[in-house]
Symmetry: C2
DNA sequence: GTATTTGCAAACGTTTTGCGGCTAC
DNA sequence: GTAGCCGCAAAACGTTTGCAAATAC
């Protein structure tokens, strides 16, 4: 693995990801980081987000539909629930058995690095039946 | 629903999606469409892809990781395998039991409209162990 | 006849990159 | 001292949009 240094910028960005509950866009991380380091640049935020993802300390979460990437600190594997009403994205556990699936038998799959499961629906607050 | 017209361009694009095995980017659809309609423009390809998605005749498929959108004709529900090596996106069946999962018990989920499962890995051709 | 769609090109928002100076080690 | 990082600004990228002309119906 490539040699890397600790910098204030990198530390602040990781702290922001770790202390936040929702998933942040790069721009949102940038705005939060500027409160601690007013001189930080958006390019540095992107460089560090990519770096942290490469190190496995963060993950990129894309909304399935268009728009910009969101980032979260790495945690135990989980799925994402997207509410069509309020647009909230919540972490939810993987359903029983999914992570044990043997993909190698399915078509020409030789290795699996990552599972992305997005459940799109409505939360209790947004459901018309509520 | 909004009134719409049939055009040669729209028909060609839908044919391309329906006859494709892997999932195509807008640029790839454009290149294929130019063989039938040399004068077609990339803007028209995008407009029609979005139109077809809005009509439910096509779907946008994004690998959670990066890059551009891919498109497929609407079909039976299935998961997607993304190869990090060759960037190919293939349909694979949902694993046993996933579609029967009772999400209502998981957090505040009141209804589920769609499941997006992406398996990111390496295909046999791209695997270093091959 | 007219509302929709087209081709073109310019604009857009997000992300990456080249560069010279700065900093952690 | 130096490899790695920063801030800045410009470029790259995928995608959308405004417009006048063409087309489907």
């Amino acid at each position: 693995m490539k040699k890397s240094r600790h910098t204030r910028q990198r530390g602040v960005i990781l702290d922001i990801l770790r202390s936040d509950v929702v998933h942040l866009t790069a721009e949102e991380v940038y705005q939060k980081a500027r409160k601690a380091l007013p001189g930080i640049s958006l390019g540095t935020v992107y460089r560090n987000l990519n770096f942290l993802c490469a190190q496995g300390l963060a993950r990129e979460v894309r909304n399935g539909e268009a728009g910009c990437a969101r980032f979260e600190a790495a945690r135990d594997p989980h799925a994402h629930f997207h509410c069509r009403g309020c647009q909230v994205v919540r972490d939810i556990p993987f359903p029983e058995g999914l992570r044990e699936t043997r993909w190698e038998g399915v078509g020409p799959i030789a290795a699996v690095f990552r599972l992305d499961l997005h459940v799109v629906g409505e939360c209790a607050d947004c459901s018309p039946t509520a």
